[in-house]
């Protein structure tokens, strides 16, 4: 690198430090991936994905966990996405930023977002499993996950709605559009990338969750036969294999690879889908 003759040492230092920080993050990330792949790759094959575990998970595959995780994720989003979108609409479109109820709601969401997941698990256990008598089940797990990802969904969707310039709302009103049409046909389509982003973050959060599921969805390894059956998620499987099953490390690493790729695929699919909506009915 050629330095200008009148360079400022502080500038050089800042540039160098920023570059080093970036490199450090990339190295951590690279090491993590390399470690997971080198340890899990040998154990991973088609059979691993399509068969049931044997010998406490040391052998066999992870098919039931993939199914359980899919069900948990699907129902968690099914419960939380509508509530998330409508709460965000309330916050962004029906109240001013300083409104008392809105401030209270935001405060509650921030607190909820900061609650440790083990506490969420205890709450899910006490409320869904015991009080509502749902029992250890994928349903109880999905409901607990839904509550956990609500703050992420609401805050991100609210932000993307608030980022739409006010003139679009005035324009819609000047054209005599009802609020329903303005929100559903103009503002939500404009916020669709923000909504996709909120879903991506929530999926990541939900798929990584372990503690909250131990007490709600349970950790039996068999294939779940209904929403009311208990089931083990991929993350719980990784936790169990690495903590409780001597000799389960290889399977844990292989499961981690599957989990990481699932998150990558779901994220890519969400972004593609939000672009697809654009293309099909040109917004």
């Amino acid at each position: 690198m050629k330095l200008p003759s009148n360079y400022n040492p502080a500038d050089i230092l800042l540039a160098g430090f920023s570059w080093l920080s970036g490199l450090l993050v990339l190295l951590c990330f690279g090491y993590l991936f390399a470690d997971i792949f080198s340890n899990g790759y040998a154990h991973l094959d088609w059979q691993f994905i399509t068969t049931a575990p044997e010998n406490a998970g040391r052998d066999g595959g992870i098919a039931p966990m993939i199914i359980s995780t899919t069900i948990l994720l699907f129902f968690a989003l099914l419960f939380s996405l509508p509530i998330g979108i409508f709460s965000a609409i309330y916050l962004a479109e029906y109240t001013s930023y300083e409104h008392r109820f809105a401030r209270l709601l935001r405060y509650a969401l921030n607190t909820l977002a900061a609650v440790p997941s083990i506490v969420m698990g205890m709450f899910g256990f006490a409320f869904f499993v015991i009080i509502l008598q749902i029992g250890f089940s994928l349903l109880a797990g999905a409901l607990t996950l839904a509550i956990m990802i609500l703050p992420l969904l609401i805050r991100n969707i609210e932000d993307s709605l608030r980022n739409i310039p006010h003139t679009y709302r005035l324009n819609a009103a000047a054209l005599g559009l009802s609020q329903v049409r303005t929100i559903f046909q103009i503002l939500l389509p404009m916020a669709k990338h923000g909504i996709a982003m909120a879903v991506v973050l929530s999926v990541g959060r939900a798929m990584a969750e372990t503690a909250a599921l131990l007490f709600t969805a349970g950790y039996v390894m068999r294939m779940p036969d209904s929403l009311m059956d208990s089931g083990r998620s991929l993350s719980v499987h990784i936790f169990d294999l690495s903590m409780n099953v001597p000799g389960g490390e290889k399977a844990a690493y292989a499961t981690t690879i599957v989990l990481l790729f699932s998150i990558l695929i779901i994220n890519a699919a969400t972004v593609l889908l939000s672009n697809q909506i654009t293309r099909r009915s040109p917004m």
Partner: protein, 280 residues
């Protein structure tokens, strides 16, 4: 500076509603009578009375911050979107006071269309920009929507330019085209009046000229009220001019008359200073 008329010279002439001397027989579509706007106790403009003549171009001139745009917003009650905004007085649109709490705002905004300073097509296809408002107002049939869109786009001279790209995003159009699209979109609702808030200030001179020519054509059928900073534009298109100024940050009407009189023989020294470009 010493020769300039100052605030102390300012006689606010038309305190009550009156038409221009030579326009007694010209019909008015909108009558603004003793209108005042306060936002959060702060007076934005006060005691404004202006007749808006049917099928003419009415122009509102004055310096920034004298409440011209707020006045325009008040006519279709967009001031409702501003917290603590309070309107007093009367705005008659086709003889009905639209400040009446029972006023049907959707009908009002269908009758009086508004074009904003910055062209704001919705960021979706050109077709959708027409479909959404038309569907809201009861036109559900695709053939009807297409026909109304086509005739509106033709009347703003945009049809030839966009007819092969109706499914393209409206934001892919140039600024001038976007503004004409917004005018066309407003026209599909068959309004009686068009309010335009500095419609050319974000456009290049050629696009501005196209819009000006368009307005001169549209005044055959529509009542037009334009807010502008641009005095030469006002001279080119105006039939009637209202001149606003501010006193203690509150907008007041100084003078209202035929364009020729305002630009050549205004009765108020402040008007004459402003239109000659001495102050403002």
């Amino acid at each position: 500076m010493n020769n300039l008329p100052t605030i102390s010279h300012l006689q606010i002439v038309p305190d009550e509603y009156r038409k221009a001397p030579n326009a007694q027989d010209v019909a008015t579509l909108i009558e603004i009578k003793n209108l005042s706007l306060n936002i959060d106790q702060q007076a934005i403009f006060s005691n404004i009375s202006i007749p808006i003549y049917s099928k003419h171009i009415n122009v509102l001139i004055g310096p920034s911050g004298c409440g011209k745009s707020s006045l325009l917003n008040a006519i279709i009650r967009l001031t409702d979107f501003t917290k603590d905004a309070h309107l007093q007085g009367e705005i008659l649109v086709a003889n009905k006071n639209i400040l009446n709490p029972n006023c049907n705002l959707i009908e009002l905004r269908k009758k009086v269309a508004m074009i904003f300073q910055k062209p704001t097509p919705f960021p979706m296809s050109i077709y959708k920009n027409f479909e959404i408002p038309l569907k809201e107002h009861g036109v559900k049939n695709k053939i009807d929507i297409a026909a109304k869109m086509q005739s509106a786009l033709k009347s703003v001279g945009l049809w030839k330019e966009v007819k092969d790209r109706l499914n393209k995003n409206a934001l892919s159009l140039s600024g001038g085209q976007q503004q004409r699209l917004c005018i066309a979109r407003a026209l599909t609702l068959a309004p009686a009046a068009l309010l335009l808030d500095e419609p050319c200030s974000a456009l290049d001179p050629i696009s501005s000229q196209i819009i000006e020519e368009l307005l001169l054509e549209l005044k055959q059928k529509y009542t037009i009220l334009v807010v502008t900073h641009n005095l030469s534009q006002a001279k080119r298109i105006a039939d009637y001019v209202a001149f606003m100024w501010y006193v203690n940050q509150c907008g007041r009407l100084v003078e209202h008359n035929e364009a020729a009189i305002i630009f050549n023989k205004p009765s108020n020294p402040l008007t004459s200073a402003y239109v000659q470009g001495v102050t403002g």
